[in-house]
């Protein structure tokens, strides 16, 4: 796991930790079942408050990225996690709703949205 | 038991760097009576010399933030006070024993003809009482007012002694009456009682102290 914190980004520290762990789970850098450092280890290593790491981990847990097993530690749930899937599904729906809203505001036909979606899908998979 | 002995050891650690001074005092206590050719004065002289070191532990603590140290250690203040009393009493007894045992031998060895040879052990016991009185008055003074300001407390017993002499002269007491009054068998328990009272007062002072 790799975490780099900036004191001057204006983004709260817990948010930075959360986003970076999330990104690493989604990119596959952190795989399912992998053990994360404990709250206190992470706080010590980054020289930050335990409450800050607690908040980051709690958020990640609620969003289904990680799970805490009492007395054992924190583990990456991975992309197969039901919770995570649900979370991602919700994110996708939100994105689509705002795309539809924007297209309506711009007076575009829904077929335009489909076309654009196909286009981006192709672009993404080419990457 | 450790609750009593360890504070004694702590006080010994405080005065440990001054061991040379203590040796010097022993030298004085043994040497001075030789010069005066008076054996009877030796116990009193040694009692007063060692009494002067009673303030050491207090001044060392004052100079070294010792009260913070005291404030941090897991000991009751009363235990620390008892430790200090015992340590001073112990140092005195060692000092006193050295003088009582060695001084007559020195007089013999150096062939000094001494005054007051016959009452030596009685003087010794009186000196012990003398020390108990001085310590009993001064220790609470040190606890209450510190190593410097606390010193005036010793004037109380000194004034009392002078007063006693004055009264004795005024009423023209004969030597038999004086001797009865200066009987160590009566004075010694009284001195010990005084020291215990003094200890209780010091504990009370220390318990109320803020630092």
């Amino acid at each position: 796991m790799k975490i780099t914190l900036s004191n001057f980004s204006g983004i709260p520290i817990y948010e930075q930790i959360k986003e970076q762990i999330k990104a690493q789970i989604l990119s596959g850098a952190l795989t399912e079942g992998e053990k994360l450092p404990s709250l206190r280890e992470l706080a010590r290593d980054l020289r930050i408050s335990v409450l800050t790491t607690t908040r980051a981990y709690t958020d990640l847990e609620q969003e289904g990225y990680i799970a805490t097993i009492q007395g054992k530690g924190c583990y990456v749930l991975g992309e197969s996690s039901e919770l995570l899937k649900e979370q991602l599904l919700r994110e996708m729906e939100q994105g689509l709703i705002s795309a539809i809203k924007a297209s309506r505001a711009a007076g575009l036909d829904i077929s335009e949205v489909h076309k654009t979606l196909d286009y981006f899908n192709k672009e993404e998979s080419n990457d | 038991m450790k609750a009593i002995i360890n504070p004694v050891k702590y006080n010994l650690f405080l005065v440990k760097p001054y061991w040379k001074q203590y040796l010097l005092l022993v030298g004085f206590a043994l040497g001075f009576p030789l010069l005066m050719k008076d054996l009877g004065v030796a116990p009193f002289y040694s009692a007063f010399l060692i009494f002067m070191t009673v303030s050491y532990t207090f001044s060392i603590e004052e100079k070294n933030n010792g009260m913070r140290f005291i404030g941090m250690v897991p000991f009751k203040r009363s235990q620390l006070v008892i430790g200090r009393y015992l340590m001073n009493l112990m140092l005195f007894l060692i000092f006193w024993l050295i003088v009582m045992l060695i001084e007559p031998i020195l007089f013999d060895l150096l062939n000094v003809t001494a005054k007051n040879h016959e009452n030596f052990w009685q003087s010794g016991l009186l000196a012990l009482v003398y020390y108990l009185i001085l310590a009993s008055f001064s220790l609470p003074g040190f606890y209450k007012y510190g190593a410097i300001k606390g010193r005036w407390m010793i004037y109380i017993p000194l004034v009392l002694i002078v007063l006693l002499v004055f009264i004795a002269q005024f009423f023209n007491w004969d030597s038999a009456k004086l001797e009865a009054l200066l009987n160590p068998m009566v004075l010694l328990p009284a001195g010990v009682l005084l020291l215990i009272l003094s200890l209780l007062v010091s504990i009370r002072i220390m318990d109320q102290k803020e630092f």
């Binding site: 408050s49 409450l51 | 650690f13 933030n65 404030g71 000991f75 630092f211």
Partner: protein, 289 residues
Amino acid sequence: MTDAIVLSNVSKSYLDFSLSDISFSLPKGYIMGFIGPNGAGKTTTIKLILNMIKRSGGRINVFGLDNQKDETEIKLHTGVVFDSHYFFEEWTVKEVGQVMALFFSNWQPALFERQVQQHQLPLNKKVSQLSKGMQLKLMLACALSHDARLLILDEPTSGLDPVAREELLELLTNFIQDGERSVLFSTHITSDLERIADFITFIHEGRLIYTGTKDDFVSAFRLVKGGLEDLSPEVKRDLISFRTHSSGFEGLIHAEKIGLYPNLFAEDATIDNIIVYTYKGSKTHESNH
């Protein structure tokens, strides 16, 4: 029992200063920064916890025990570090260990030796010959050689260089790893706390201004900046305090009020900003009376 320290409505009055109605609690396993300007009452509070001075009112519990009734039991498990050492200067490092062993029945000589080695403290040097940083390390070595569950530090970093301060922070974060041990850390060098403190207690002129998580503390305020023309009477009223300079002003505002002034530049306030402007605010407030 989950709190290392609980103060409830603690007060102490002197002729020229009084500490009034101080309440806070430090949950076990965490680090609390204890802040406030010099003379705010930080050392007085610490001395009250240690029962070096007697409280005039309120209640103090350490490890769930009464700090007066169970004083010795508490101190057996508490390590204390002051801004300057409390040893007899003529003692050597080794003798300091011997004296500590007299008082702490849970003293671990091997642990002390290891720490002394780790901090490169010369065993046979006198305390007076050690540098200020070394003396601090000696106090820490003592505090950590008797199985302390609570560390109380009173201005330990004043007079320490940045390297030594960083080492201290590392030591503290290691200390709380098991989640059972806690730290109360009084300081006016707040950059030390900016990162590692979990909780903040802020007192000023003997009164409690804030106690709670550091994150809430810092996010309760915003630092605002703008030109002099932005400093309208409304802005002035809502600022806790501010300072002006030739090209503008800078001030502290409660975070919930920042929405009223979208044209002002706002950024995160540091703990220092908060202390300074709160202090200044209380002064102007006084002079207005």
